[in-house]
């Protein structure tokens, strides 16, 4: 089994549009949306949900006003500034509560409950390109790292059961908790960037994160024609041994036009950018096979080209 995750550091570089196109080309992968906070892949893939489950993670502290003796110890001990004392009495802001249990444990009146926290939902679905595992964290919820880990486990289970050998994941922006969770044990990370100061800065940080976890990486510069000089700079940066340079893709209005039609860009149009994306996917597969040759079956990805 091989796991490829598409990430970027900077948001809005085209991760999701490219992942959707790759899912189309690969044709029979397990597709996974690991951006559980602001997932967009389902807008293109239009999944039909077969399994819908609640995501329960951790707990939240809730003060029972009738039992509270207003001693203020909870507010004093909370390291997250979650307890306030408005005129109406002590109160815990659920968005600031870390679920650490300190207030629950030390409340002398036993006035703080600690119910499970319902953070979101996750799904197993069917799409026109194969099975999809995805989720939606409730607005403002936390523990997205745990939800990402859960989705990856479900995707691996599904791959084993269905005899599929490739898991293709769309990751979250940034380098924090959900991104770290999407990287551990991944075979290859595709880093999508753009030729801007932000794109390069964020690429360097996300590439460093991948090195930290020893994940091989390849770089796609999207909207490369926006600034050919910066694109060349990123290419040189890759050539210094930091990552495989996969492709420089031009800006193409077809990406947004396809999105509006709820299509992948490769479905929307067969030539131009779509040819470049197909070529890029072939490169990813070749590199994936090369990198996994020593310890994994070499034919894993061949079927998908």
């Amino acid at each position: 089994m091989s796991e490829i995750v598409v990430i970027s550091g900077k948001g809005g570089t085209g991760k999701t549009s490219l992942t959707a196109a790759f899912a189309h080309i690969a044709a029979d992968a397990i597709i996974c949306d690991l951006d559980v906070d602001a997932p967009d892949l389902h807008l293109i893939l239009q999944p039909e949900i077969d399994v819908r489950e609640n995501f329960i993670s951790g707990h939240e502290a809730v003060i029972d006003p009738a039992a509270c003796n207003a001693c203020g110890l909870c507010m004093e001990m909370c390291r997250f500034g979650a307890v306030s004392n408005p005129p109406a009495g002590y109160h815990i802001d659920p968005l600031k509560c870390e679920g650490c249990k300190v207030c629950v444990q030390f409340c002398p009146a036993g006035a703080i409950r600690f119910p499970d926290r319902h953070c979101g939902e996750w799904f197993i679905s069917r799409t026109r390109f194969g099975p999809m595992v995805h989720a939606q964290l409730f607005p403002g919820a936390e523990n997205s790292g745990r939800l990402v880990a859960l989705l990856r486990k479900k995707a691996r289970d599904l791959a084993r059961e269905s005899g599929r050998s490739l898991i293709l994941s769309d990751g979250a922006p940034g380098i924090g908790c959900p991104v770290i969770s999407s990287l551990s044990g991944t075979d290859f990370a595709v880093l999508v960037t753009e030729p801007t100061p932000s794109g390069l800065h964020d690429l360097e940080r996300v590439a460093e994160l991948c090195r930290h976890f020893r994940i091989p990486t390849g770089v796609i510069v999207n909207k490369a024609d926006l600034n050919p000089e910066n694109t060349a700079g990123i290419q040189r940066w890759c050539a210094d041994g930091r990552a495989e340079f996969l492709a420089a893709l031009p800006y193409d209005p077809a990406v947004t036009e396809a999105m509006v039609q709820r299509q992948t860009v490769t479905e929307f149009s067969a030539d131009g950018l779509s040819m470049d994306i197909r070529h890029t996917w072939r490169r990813i597969v070749e590199i994936g096979n090369r990198k996994t040759k020593s310890h994994k079956a070499t034919d894993i990805l061949k079927s998908s080209v």
Partner: protein, 295 residues
Amino acid sequence: MIVAVASGKGGTGKTTVAASLSWVWDRPVTAVDLDVEEPNLHLFLNPELTGRQTATLEVPVADESKCTYCRACADFCQFKAISVLGSVLLTFPEMCHGCGGCMAVCPEKALSSGVRELGEILWGQADGRIGFFMGRLRVGEAMSPPLMRAVTAKLSELSAADQADVVIDAPPGTSCPAINAVLPSDLILLVTEPTPFGFYDFRLAHEAFRPRQKPMAAIINRAGVGERSIYDYCRSANIPILAEIPFDRRIAEAYSRGRIVAEALPEMTSVFAGLVPRLRQLAAVDAVREEAVHV
């Protein structure tokens, strides 16, 4: 007044807007980059940095000579950051959220406080007139909210005396880091683009921020591409659209050269300068309304 520039979807132009707003602001202003995972504001404002501080989180350090392996700490920890296997006590500092619970429950006082580096706080001034603060998460560190809190604490510490307004560049998304970034604000300015992804994530962000009962306004970036659903949504949700930034290759190219859009393109200067009084008015209207409620 504190304005948080937020989005939901990444890459819609938060940093473009935050940099441009700071540039044209009509009063003393401080720009604060709270997208600590991928901070970019400094790449455009080019501040002269005058201060730097490491931000840390308090994590437990075990003194095994005092430990009786009673497991009180391991049973208490909600984050699996500490465990006892027979007569071995293991701490996993990377998992620790810094709540201090283990140290408080240990009956033998066998746990003392150590630190994990979260990242750094940097500050200075741009163009000799714009205050600047940013946080930069250490690569490999998972938790951004504690660093964000440290940045805002530093900001209040160093600028308690001045009356500067604040423009916050928030991280994308709708979960804990994004919420943390908008919490200190008087007004949330949502930047989006009129594409299906932009619209979907805008709705998520609006739902996430709405319970905070702060005034919200929108800027539509790359206006002219995509579809109209975002406009209909803003109308029905009563979110004023304060400006549209046209889809224009010159803007994208200016950004790609590290330019502040409001500085590089004169027509954009007036768009952003016109925004400032509108923002102030929206925040003030709401403050008045709130006062009325409290009275």
